[in-house]
């Protein structure tokens, strides 16, 4: 995904890697980021994903230079921009990083062109060139005709594009995005997501996103860093982490709606364990934690609602097959959402609209063992 010039005097890509090592950020006694490390390859799109307060925005702001970390080292390309050991701190304006803010931070006292051209005029680029390049990048984001418009009266989507154009205009080698899509309505968000992806692959800059939206993270990224309480829970490609969550927290955050506590009752071959939930309920699951399972230890099991197979009638049996009763049924258009009570468990399940079951009906649920993930409870969140 190497960049190429896309326009005469326009934006050209020249991507560099970003490395974060042992990054720590403390506010007094509170540790917002607890010594995390990750690497972003040149031209890659990496997403920091996690709930609010997990330290993802702080991490992004440390990379941008808007926060001074307590400890660690940040390297952008060849250049160390922060290192507590050798007292290096590069001011944000010297890092050559573009940033799109959550609020877009469009300056209301300037025109659209004034906003987008600002980084160039600060850099001392000649007036004509500022004009030309501003126009080129506005064309790129689809706002070519708005250059003279006052920035105060733009729609949300237009503001987003202006913010993006401003972050790209001075050809930064890295662009960071702080929840860039969270202020847009659902339709616009989908469209902007696609456009962002297209732009990024055309221009080839290294991109770091922050989001709490797992869908956004999965669709945008080459690589995802899941964060929780200032630490990294899991890193990997979208497919990897979605199919093989490494912790119960990661599973829950990626939309695994069934997460149940139990204990290890038996340890089988090939990473298969038997988890007991009491009430005689037992489930075969794949052991995902790095430490080997110990018989009797507390464990958490997670599986997705769409992996649960619901059949009418309560009489079948087999591995991971339970009898239950439909407690709630909600019609969602393309699917049915069920809550199925089985012993002590309330299982969330998704069913086809062609073969619905109804409230109060006796059913059997089958959860294939290779879709059940078991985690050591000591590492679970």
């Amino acid at each position: 995904m190497s960049g190429r010039p896309i326009h005469e005097g326009g934006v050209s890509g020249h991507s560099v890697p970003v490395t974060v090592e042992r990054l720590t950020m403390s506010y007094g006694a509170v540790q917002a980021v607890g010594g995390i490390s990750f690497h972003v390859a040149p031209g890659q799109t990496v997403t920091l994903l996690g709930p609010s307060g997990c330290g993802k925005t702080t991490t992004l702001r440390c990379i941008a230079g808007l926060e001074v970390p307590t400890a660690g080292r940040i390297t952008v390309g060849e250049r160390v921009v922060f290192d507590d050991a050798s007292n290096i701190f590069v001011e944000p304006e010297r890092r050559n990083i573009g940033m799109v803010f959550q609020s877009y931070a469009i300056w209301p006292h300037m025109t659209v062109g004034g906003n987008v051209g600002f980084p160039l005029s600060i850099a001392g680029v000649s007036k004509n060139e500022v004009q030309e390049r501003t126009h080129a990048v506005l064309e790129l984001v689809g706002l070519g005709d708005l250059q003279r418009r006052s920035a105060a009266d733009l729609s949300g989507g237009q503001q987003q594009r202006v913010a993006l154009a401003r972050a790209l205009v001075h050809e930064p080698s890295v662009v960071v995005f702080d929840e860039p899509l969270s202020n847009l309505d659902a339709n616009l968000r989908e469209r902007m997501r696609a456009e962002l992806q297209l732009l990024q692959s055309r221009l080839g800059f290294t991109a770091i996103f922050v989001t709490h939206d797992q869908k956004e993270a999965l669709s945008l990224s080459d690589y995802i860093v899941i964060m929780n309480k200032g630490l990294i829970e899991q890193t990997g490609s979208p497919q990897e982490i979605f199919t093989n969550p490494a912790t119960a927290f990661a599973a829950r955050f990626l939309g695994y709606s069934n997460v149940f506590p139990g204990w290890v009752a038996a340890i089988g071959d090939a990473g298969v364990v038997q988890i007991d939930f009491g009430d005689g309920l037992r489930l075969s699951a794949l052991w995902r934690s790095p430490n080997p399972p110990r018989a009797g230890e507390d464990s958490t099991v997670a599986f997705r609602a769409d992996r649960v197979v619901v059949r009418p009638g309560g009489q079948q049996s087999g591995e991971n097959v339970f009898a239950g009763e439909v407690e709630t049924a909600a019609f969602l258009g393309t699917t049915f959402d069920y809550t199925i009570k089985s012993g002590a468990l309330e299982i969330q399940a998704e069913g086809s609209v062609d073969h619905p079951v109804s409230r109060g009906q006796a059913v059997t649920v089958h959860i294939p063992a290779d879709h059940c993930h078991a985690f050591s409870a000591t590492t679970a969140a």
Partner: protein
């Protein structure tokens, strides 16, 4: 964080951060010299009669009978003032914010007018109306009484004028609290069976209590330290307060600095204790009733009583504006006979104060000069402080606001004495600059509070995005933040200008022959000229102030800037 520059790689930018450190040290030094030093000078002077430190003089001062009288007078004036201003301010605020009183939209800005006017001009206009022999009302009622029924030269008279002029403080605070209150809090009281008036008393009022109480404390301490009105209405009747005694101690011969300092320290300690209490009171509970809800509380239907309510508000405005109108009429008469006489219409009084009378002319010019430069300096200083506090990471920035807020606890007369003691031996003494510095310092808290809210209203992301665009700190401030707050800075400038134009207390301690301000000139003219002339001068000052206020309301929403 230890960010000393020892890096082998020259990427650290030590010049910026070390420049920042130099800047913050300079700011601290400036505040130490202008805020802390004058105050310490007063406190030290209290113990410095004769050689070394002693408390002998303190004992002597506080056993003098006329000083005990003055303390009693000061307390009585403060209590009467706060009761008057509290009742009037809360009543009017509730009527405007929560009732269907007719004309409330018209009354709202008018109720704030005294806030901007000079209470000395107010005192002068009340002399015209209620002086024992010559007052308009006393003249009208003369036939029905043995002796004039009203005497403005009394504790009651002083408290009346102060009460009228400080009601807007309580009004403003209470109104703000009532308007920002979550409507559902009251609605749920109604749903629980409370009547409208039970709801007002048991829900609305307690929720506004912090705002009411804190504004009342503010009025209480301001009244205790006030100087102009007691000087005009008390001293002629040989009625002294602590502030007038401080002034006399300096102006008798030989000047008794120790006595003035002791009285000032006592006054300062008194006001400081209450002001700190007020700040603490407001800090914890300020936002408890404020929600972001878009809908406003419902108004109480007063039925037939709504006309009575309008009458109450009208009477307040009559008490404020009526005497000013009387003063206006008097200023156009060549002699005052107690009734307006068309044949006696004249512009001579205005001609005299503008062009003939040297002191009046000087006062006008001096005040315009001091207020223009002072307001400019104040806006620059306050914006610098606000940006340093809210837009840098410099060490020690958190201590700036508390230090700059100290003058809020110091009555103007005490601050004036502090500057006098501190600077009497320097070339600054006897210049307009010393007066200007005193103004800037005295109203630093007001300026800083307003500047802080202006700066805080600008989202941090707006200047952070400038930094990410390659602008350094200075450029991010000058190209983004300052342009965005500039309308607010204009309002603040005008507010400071108006405040300086009507300042009395510290000017009175610091002026010398040639550096009289407009208020000083007015007080001097009142001593030797008839009402017509001083009236004309008072009207002139009032018109100047009102023109600025009208302009402030044009450029900003009225409650964006508050004192």
């Amino acid at each position: 964080m230890s960010l000393a520059s020892t890096a082998a790689i020259p990427l650290r930018i030590p010049w910026f951060r070390s420049r920042g450190l130099v800047a913050i040290l300079l700011i601290y030094a400036m505040l130490a010299v202008t805020v802390a030093y004058p105050l310490l000078a007063v406190l030290v002077q209290s113990f410095s009669e004769g050689a070394g430190l002693s408390i002998a003089k303190i004992e002597e001062v506080f056993t003098t009978p006329n000083i005990i009288d003055a303390v009693v007078n000061t307390l009585m004036i403060s209590v009467f003032t706060v009761v008057f201003a509290g009742v009037v301010g809360v009543t009017l605020a509730w009527l405007v914010a929560r009732s269907n009183m007719p004309f409330r939209r018209l009354f709202d800005p008018l109720n704030m007018v005294p806030f901007y006017l000079s209470s000395v001009v107010g005192a002068l206009s009340w002399q015209v109306v209620a002086a024992p022999r010559s007052g308009l009302i006393n003249k009208l009622l003369e036939p029905f009484f043995d002796k004039p029924p009203f005497d403005i030269y009394s504790v009651g008279g002083i408290a009346l004028v102060l009460g009228l002029f400080y009601s807007p403080y309580v009004y403003l605070f209470t109104l703000g609290s009532l308007q920002s209150m979550d409507a559902s809090l009251e609605d749920s009281a109604r749903m629980s069976g409370a009547s409208k008036f039970q709801t007002a008393i048991r829900i609305t009022l307690p929720l506004s209590a912090p705002a009411i109480l804190s504004s009342c404390i503010l009025v209480f301490v301001t009244a205790a330290g006030i100087f102009g009105v007691p000087l005009v209405l008390g001293v002629p009747a040989n009625l002294h307060t602590l502030s007038t005694l401080i002034y006399t101690a300096i102006n008798e011969y030989p000047a008794d600095f120790a006595k003035a300092a002791i009285l000032s320290s006592a006054l300062f300690i008194f006001t400081a204790v209450f002001t700190v209490a007020q700040i603490l009171l407001l800090r914890g509970r300020r936002f408890t009733t404020v929600t972001g809800k878009g809908y406003r509380p419902r108004r109480v239907e007063l039925g037939r009583w709504r006309w009575a309510a309008a009458g109450v508000n009208g009477i307040y405005l009559l008490f404020v504006i009526g005497p000013f109108i009387a003063l206006l009429i008097v200023s156009f008469q060549d002699a005052w006979t107690g009734v307006f006489d068309v044949s006696r219409f004249t512009l001579a009084n205005y001609k005299k104060v503008m062009f003939v009378d040297a002191i009046a002319h000087r006062g006008l010019i001096n005040s315009l000069f001091v207020s223009t430069i002072g307001a400019t300096v104040a806006v620059a200083v306050c914006m610098t402080l606000a940006l340093t506090i809210h837009r840098t990471r410099l060490p020690g920035r958190a201590g700036l606001a508390p230090l700059a807020m100290v003058p809020v606890t110091v009555p103007g007369i005490v601050l004036g004495l502090g500057f006098l003691i501190a600077l009497v031996a320097t070339p600054l003494y006897g210049t307009l600059w010393i007066i200007m510095i005193a103004y800037v310092v005295h109203y630093l808290p007001t300026g800083l509070r307003n500047s802080e809210s202006l700066v805080q209203a600008v989202s941090r992301e707006l200047d952070e995005s400038a930094r990410m665009s390659g602008a350094n700190w200075w450029r991010a401030m000058t190209r983004i933040v300052v342009p965005l707050v500039s309308p607010g800075m204009v309002s603040l400038w005008l507010l400071m200008f108006v405040t300086y134009i009507r300042e009395v207390s510290s000017s009175m301690m610091l002026f010398t022959y040639g550096t009289e301000t407009i208020s000083i000139a007015l007080i001097q003219i009142m001593e030797y000229e008839p009402y017509g002339v001083s009236g004309a001068f008072g009207v002139l000052q009032t018109v100047l102030v009102l023109a600025c206020v009208a302009f402030i309301r044009q450029v900003s929403s009225p409650r964006q800037i508050n004192a």
